[in-house]
């Protein structure tokens, strides 16, 4: 699924990154526990999380995750946005809660 579709399905806004129609995600993983993300997800996965620490970017970076979708209307701090830009990781944000966001994406074919 293209990130531009993710944006449309979830009504999210793009916080960092561009050319969303050129970035593809194959799966999604929803968690606020970074070690679980590190243990269970792999390249091409969209990380759905309610955290906005620099470590969400680092986690994505270690795992070659192309994008993060921040849920629950959290404001992503500028240093995290800067780190995302520096590492080339796309960050999207939505007001929806994690469950609703996951449900919408799952219903449209993005599996876990």
């Amino acid at each position: 699924m293209k990130l531009s579709e993710v944006l449309e399905i979830t009504g999210a806004t793009c916080v960092a990154g561009e050319r969303l129609d050129s970035v593809e995600v194959t799966h999604a993983f929803a968690s606020d526990l970074m070690s679980d993300v590190l243990a269970m997800s792999g390249p091409g996965t969209l990380l759905i999380t309610g955290l906005t620490t620099p470590q969400i970017i680092r986690t994505a970076q270690m795992l070659d995750l192309p994008a993060i979708l921040v849920v629950r209307g959290k404001v992503v701090p500028q240093d995290v946005v800067d780190l995302a830009r520096a590492t080339g990781i796309v960050v999207l944000a939505t007001r929806d809660i994690m469950y609703v966001t996951s449900g919408k994406l799952y219903a449209r074919g993005l599996s876990g």
Partner: protein
Amino acid sequence: MSLEQSAEALRYLGLFSNFDASSVMSTAVYALHPEDRVAAARTLMREKSISGVPIVDADFRLVGLISVSKIIEALADGRLADSVDSVHDSLETMLACFQRFKFGRFPVIEEDGKLIGMIADTDVLSAIVRSFYSVYVHDQRRMMTIGSFSALSEKFENSADFVYDIRCEGLENAGEGSAGLKAFLQSKGFSESIIRRASVCAYEAEINVCIHAGGRGSLRAIARNGEIIVRVEDEGPGIENIDLAMKEGWSTATDAIREKGFGAGMGLPNIRRFSDHLVIISGKGKPTKVEMIFLADKD
């Protein structure tokens, strides 16, 4: 690996550098008074399955040691009813003998001569086993891993290919070192999958330094011949129980850390999952060394 080589490897590791007599000795010591009978010594040794008994005076000062061989001599001479004082070795004799013979036990005394413990070969063995408790090796090739670990120590001192000093307040820049390591490994042309495994493990270890060791430590790596070796070290306070720390979901992290997405007790289990060899050396109040080896041919 021969016994001598093993001993050499262990010495090299510095595993036992912090061993002293008090950490090895058993303190539940059975002792006899000089006026006790040899027969009492024989009974004590038989009942407690020990091969020697220290002789102490009323102030618990060591005056000698009676061993199985002395009992056998006394038995042969029909002197079991004599006092142990008449057959035991004097301290002077013992000290002289320790240098000449391979005794199976050593009394530990304070400066004033008071007996505070005994060290038998089994105590030394248990102390080594206790120490291995804090050397966690997760695969079957324990000696091979420890062997390579010892050889690598020197390499790390002299010529790590990648060095990052961890200096982190809270979790602020936690992950910066691992990100640097990842870029370094990419520049060396390793495959994506081995780089990912090494980066994830380095990241977990770096996070651990930030959470548990005051954010002070080092992250170093050697990447040669298709193999990546990552070592993360800190100055403590150490892991009190490595077996527990290796269990998924077990953590000593604070709620503040958990709110930041870590401290869920998955760090070390993740490192074990993604590394090919893992050695963790730590202990309560001790520095922690985590060394991970990643083999390219596993990918």
